[in-house]
Symmetry: C2
Subunit: 263 residues, 2 copies
């Protein structure tokens, strides 16, 4: 079993990814982003995304009802269905599912984000949260019958509302349930970079131990990403491949170790 | 088995529909439209929908790649996922599927529409077509495991491309496969009207024979709708309920015969 995570950047070569996947001999599930087309649609509609900065200094997208609408349009709508279409054109019988469908990805809504406004503390609650569980039986039902699940946000919260969530965290929960032996993460960089501004600084191999050390050296969003990576190993042995999603053979090259391999 | 068709008008009381469905004792599948929100998104993006008028006088939406994008965003994205969310909030374990997902709804692409441009005949081929088959085994797999399929366009053509299609025709193909004993069609009118401009002219009952006579009296889009209705009876005995989707209890009232009943 392989979990394929396709980043939501505009430069990802989706057609190349799907062509590679059509030649895989193993079962796989796909989870994808769509932030580039979401942000573009928001701009085109004259409602650019808003961000919140918490008192602890962490910045996140403000997921109000309007943003969830946009996510349904771009993640579960445009990006998901174009990926499913390309899968079908390559002989992969894909079924696209948001986290709402059959409660495929279940989460817990955040209590709120503490922000400072005009000197006063305020708690702002939006539609965002953490993934907690997967409807494994639905995914297994589809896989057993020859269908490939293509997953995306929004996910469903404890009161059955659609909420935004981080794909890095969802991959963690997927792995806790599916116990894949390989996870491929396709991004808009040649792999994990030692220096984020130097594309030639790809780290070929990282050990589990090294992950923790590196996590302590970075901050902000990168720290969260490193923590999410480290958690992937909690469910058991797995190899994580971080590869360039922009090239001709994103999946093949990642699995061949041309990006970063973590084990 | 009941097939529930929810019209794509802006006035449909979706929450009321779902509340009614939660109390049904029979299996059902949902198919929904979204033309109001599709047209609004197109306007908001400054790309209002284009129509084509064939030399035979029939007008249809010009389904170019951009329109399919919009349909993925609004039918398979926003409308489908908000319906699934509302279903989950009412205890219905819904799974939203476009016709692409698992090839749920398969069709054949139109050869082209003959139009006259500057006095010359031209064949314009867009991404539209007729539904031909349903992946019944996928729908049955979901139903047998307690999931309710929530279907929408686009559907998938013979070369695995996403195409636009008429929901009236899709309901016909669904019925040919599922052989439901009831079909509920929820629209923005109190039922089938004798005079389309007079909402008090609801026809309470229509027989199959009468359908054919009425089909000969009307024209254009209405003729196509009447033909689609008549075809529903070709798969065997069924009762078709045409009801007001804008009221408090759209499904209950339709099934109670408060709209138009055809059998």
């Amino acid at each position: 079993m392989i979990i394929i995570k396709i980043g939501g950047g505009g430069g990802i070569n989706i057609a190349g990814v799907i062509k590679d996947l059509a030649e895989l001999d193993e079962q796989f599930v796909i989870i994808h982003g769509a932030n580039a087309i979401r942000d573009k649609l928001a701009e085109d509609l004259g409602t650019p995304k808003k961000t919140l900065t918490s008192v602890s200094g962490y910045t996140s997208v403000y997921s109000d009802e309007k943003l969830i609408d946009l996510m349904m349009m771009t993640y579960a709508g445009l990006r998901n269905k174009r990926i499913v279409e390309m899968c079908q054109q390559n002989g992969i019988n894909a079924v696209g599912l948001s986290g709402l469908d059959g409660k495929a990805i279940q989460g817990k809504r955040n209590q709120g984000i503490r922000v400072r406004e005009k000197g006063k503390l305020r708690l702002i609650r939006d539609f965002s949260g953490k993934p907690k569980a997967i409807n494994t039986s639905l995914l297994q039902l589809l896989l057993d019958n020859g269908y490939v699940p293509v997953l995306c946000i929004p996910i469903i919260d404890e009161n059955n509302f659609a909420i935004n969530s981080e794909n890095d965290d969802i991959v963690g929960v997927l792995q806790a349930h599916l116990k894949a032996d390989k996870i491929v993460q396709l991004i808009e960089a040649p792999g994990f970079l030692d220096d984020k501004d130097d594309p030639t600084s790809v780290v070929k191999q990282i050990s589990k131990l090294e992950l923790q050390q590196r996590e302590e050296q970075v901050e902000g969003r990168m720290k969260r990403k490193m923590m999410a990576l480290r958690k992937l190993f909690e469910a058991g042995d797995v190899t994580v491949y971080i590869g360039d999603g922009r090239i001709e053979n994103p999946v093949k090259d990642a699995l061949a170790g041309k990006g970063t391999t973590i084990k």
